[in-house]
Symmetry: C2
Subunit: 574 residues, 2 copies
């Protein structure tokens, strides 16, 4: 929700003032909005855009060289007045006439049309191109009634570039019209936004559901469905837009297209990139060629959670104009220094580290080690959600995912190394390296070091005895302690120290490995449970100390789970 | 919350793939993250940054000419592994050594330090600069323990620019260190974020409250307070940071400073600009000179609602490096074509339209018209919240604010015109123009046209009779009807048509103006209430038709309120 404002009635004015203060090298404030603060050649066309506020970077963020000459900035979600549009156009024009372009909404049409009449009355040549890209807002037969959403950017960008290269008003208008004809968008929303000072969101979507085709002001969509996966959303978008091809576009013939994946506010970049990964894959599979895409926030609605995909079907001239330089507060193209691309490399295939072949006895042990690591992966997969939940209480909730990534990579590496004849020690070293590499974070580094220490003691020569296994575990514990935690800090150390002690004691007392391991694992489980009583001392967890009392440490719990899971592999005769 | 993902364990990998697909002209995927896809001169220093994912544009978004040479991209909120950092550094370096720079978090220190050792072992010169800008995370006496937040950008930007101009490794390191020493940040959070696949947010802040000094992973802050106004937040930020001046910086001596107002995810641009407006004002008042600020999302935490202010205290060299060109996916400086600024103009003072002086009789009427417009402003102010709430049911919730802006502007213009001797007709025309100009949207245009039509009939000559007033109202109604709505559409037309009829009939029947107006106003109120039973037909409201049944139309209600409010001015003898 919108939280930061002073008097809600002053919000739009203060927003414009702050925007101008932050972007003085590109824009200056004029009555009703902003115009470029940079000079433009006399006689060129001025592209004037605009609409309600609340959609940044639309519309003021798109004023600058190669894009708009000015933007009329209305109140929140309300069209600028005819006076505002007129004043911005007069301040922006430089002798070549004015192209008014904006999304097709009733209030905007009313006020921009009135402004067009006022401008014409004062002797300024004016044309208008309304953006109508949203396929959900009207059927194909009434495409001119569709509203404008992120497709605004396509139309503004090529019109701005055409104006910048000196095209006359009729040519710029024709290009903008063609760009609009070749632009289609489709969007979904997960939750609404609230206006400054409002107690409630402007509209809502039930949790876990999405409104398909909902507009950027909450205009009702065409259907509602469960929120799909990222890939599922990409399917929905691409499939729909491939049935909405503009006249004359054949999507299956190497046709070039600009995709714009637009976030409406609180769907964030990381999610957009995951969706775009699938969009790019699907478009490529459909035979179309993706050109200079945009993934980010281009037309927003405050913090509305929503996404749209726009496809801008290029022709040669439109592609040239799309690629032309632009330099506005929120949209820039063309670096200051032309960059040379590195030669396309053959991606170095993941080099497999050469393995030290083990003796026959050690290869037998290696098979058990590899089985143990599979057991680790399986138990972590089974408990990943639970570990994440526990970790979120005191840490950052990533323990489940981190352990999952680490154990998955370790398992793959271990099976591969064992298959290539590595001894037990080498299998553990290779698995440890893969674990720490893929898991990252502190726990990844710790588990990597632990497996590596285990492997160092087991070696590649013999089938280890119970005593050797106990020594190896002790070495692994030492490696973990080297990271600095001590018992009582509420970390995995609280579980591994008793595990080590019981295992060493029982093996020394003559127990077989299976019963010694079983007893040690029980001790680790009890110790992990007991961490619930502790106050965390380390790292980020420290900052949430009190909350964490009552919940065990995720690292201690995952360690205890792992000791239990590998028991079956300890007990299988070689 | 994070909604769009496939398998949460694959999120970070798919995110990197999508990011690279969207930005191929600048970055290429390498093991562990990304490196530039553009060439760099042999022998220059490679700045390698990195950290956990979930903070876009940190860190991959900052790779490109003039900024980082590569970025290690860890899992969500988890440090990249030492192997990842090492691999990215090896892929990014081009003979001049590597500067590792990253925010100061335990996991990152662990893994980057291990990578530094591995790189040194393989013969690559390495230095490290940790960013420690967050003043909330440790006292001044332990400034080296502070964590890094949006100040990352300051350090990376100047280090990248120094590397690009060919400085050697020790020089780049010294510059990065100096930048970090001169950078301070302070932040607040209003709500937490949730990781992909998590059912609950990682942390929460009570509604209406903010955590002061909370970290970007939800690390506990130093205090909690009610959410302030935008100006109040600017005060909090600037006051705190002016007490945290780096050694040798005197904030009151024309010292130059870069402010960075950073949104964490769902606090949006419009809000940030409103806050920045106050930040800029306060800094200027404190005597410091604001240089090339940044307002936007530079270091985020998914959709966390939070804001931070960073102050980067410049010296001559740092300013030069800050201003140098950069061209990364998320951060670009320096346009493709150098732009010339327009000459600073004396802002044209708002030209006062010359008023037609009214006759004495008309000036007396003008005073009553001006009083009526004041009464309109007062009643709209009193009911603005209620009108917004009603409008949110069927429209976009802006009716209250729009009417408020319009009536406030109209009142100011009317008082001014009346004071300058305008007749009643001119006062109404001027007020109408101000109303439609400032309110914008459809309702602004309608009210502007209505006042203008009223004024046209009343003229500037005589004191109008009851019959003239009724004729004027009828003309205003005609002007409103010209916008296209008809009775039954659930618009203000449903209230103004009965108002017009009753007024005309009662005046024709010989009633005095006060009782006729009073009866007409009662009819308008009843008609406005009755719009609750109607299904809206017009504009955006149409899309929420069913929801709107049971709630009256906001435009009809505000019209009825206005007719009641001006009754007292109708009844005061001239």
């Amino acid at each position: 929700m919108t939280r930061l404002f002073n008097d809600p009635a002053d919000f739009a004015d203060e927003m414009v003032d702050g925007f101008v203060a932050a972007n003085q090298s590109r824009v200056r404030k004029v009555h009703g909005g902003v115009a470029r603060s940079t000079t433009s050649p006399e006689g060129t066309v001025a592209l004037v855009v605009g609409g309600g506020s609340g959609h940044y970077p639309a519309f003021g963020g798109l004023v600058g060289h190669g894009l708009a000459a000015g933007a009329a900035m209305g109140n929140l979600f309300a069209s600028p007045s005819a006076q505002q549009v007129t004043a911005v156009a007069k301040a922006s024009e430089h002798g070549g006439g004015v192209l008014l372009s904006y999304g097709n909404y009733a209030g905007d049409v009313l006020n921009f049309d009135a402004a067009a009449r006022a401008l014409a009355d004062s002797g300024i040549e004016v044309r208008t191109v309304r953006v109508t890209d949203d396929v959900a807002s009207a059927p194909t037969s009434e495409a001119h009634k569709r509203r404008g959403i992120a497709g605004d950017l396509c139309v503004f960008k090529v019109a701005g570039a055409a104006a910048e290269r000196g095209d006359d008003l009729d040519t710029v208008t024709a290009i903008a019209t063609r760009a609009n004809d070749r632009t289609r968008s489709f969007g979904v929303a997960f939750s609404g936004c609230s206006l400054p000072g409002a107690d409630e969101p402007l509209f809502t979507v039930p949790e876990g559901r999405m409104a398909i085709g909902m507009g950027i002001h909450g205009e009702r969509g065409i259907a509602e469905a469960d929120v799909p996966t990222a890939d599922g959303l990409a399917d929905l978008f691409v499939d729909k837009l491939l049935t909405e091809l503009p006249d004359g576009v054949d999507a299956h013939a190497g046709q070039r297209v600009v995709p714009i994946l637009n976030g409406l506010g609180s769907v964030k970049y990381e999610e957009l990139f995951v969706v775009f990964n699938a969009v790019q894959r699907k478009l490529t599979a459909a035979g179309v060629v993706v050109v200079e895409p945009e993934v980010g926030e281009l037309v927003t609605s405050f913090d509305m959670a929503g996404v749209s995909l726009t496809l801008f079907w290029l022709d040669d001239e439109l592609e040239q104009l799309w690629a032309a330089p632009a330099d506005s507060p929120a949209y820039r193209k063309g670096g200051a220094v032309p960059q040379e691309q590195v030669a396309p490399e053959t991606l170095a295939a993941d080099e497999q580290a050469p393995v030290t072949p083990g003796t026959e006895a050690s290869q037998a042990s290696a098979a058990r080690v590899a089985a143990a690591i599979t057991a680790i992966r399986v138990t972590i997969d089974d408990h990943a959600d639970e570990l994440g939940r526990i970790d979120a209480v005191a840490g950052d909730g990533d323990h489940g995912i981190g352990m999952q990534r680490g154990s998955t990579a370790a398992d793959r590496a271990a099976q591969d190394a064992a298959a290539r004849g590595a001894g037990a020690g080498s299998v553990l070293a290779i698995a440890g390296d893969a674990w720490s590499d893929k898991a990252g974070g502190t726990s990844g580094a710790i588990w990597g070091a632990a497996l590596e220490a285990l492997g160092r003691v087991l070696g590649d020569d013999q089938r280890p005895s119970a005593a050797t296994v106990a020594q190896a575990v002790h070495a692994a514990v030492e490696a973990v302690l080297a990271f600095g935690a001590v018992p009582g800090d509420k970390t995995m150390v609280d579980a591994i120290v008793p595990f080590d002690q019981v295992l060493t004691d029982r093996v020394a007392a003559g127990d077989d490995l299976v019963s010694a391991w079983s007893a040690a694992s029980a001790a680790a489980t009890a110790a992990a449970d007991a961490t619930a009583d502790l106050l965390p001392k380390m790292g980020r967890a420290r900052t949430h100390g009190e909350d964490a009392v009552g919940t065990p440490d995720a690292g201690a719990v995952s360690f205890a789970l792992i000791t239990a899971a590998v028991l079956s592999t300890v007990s299988v005769p070689a």
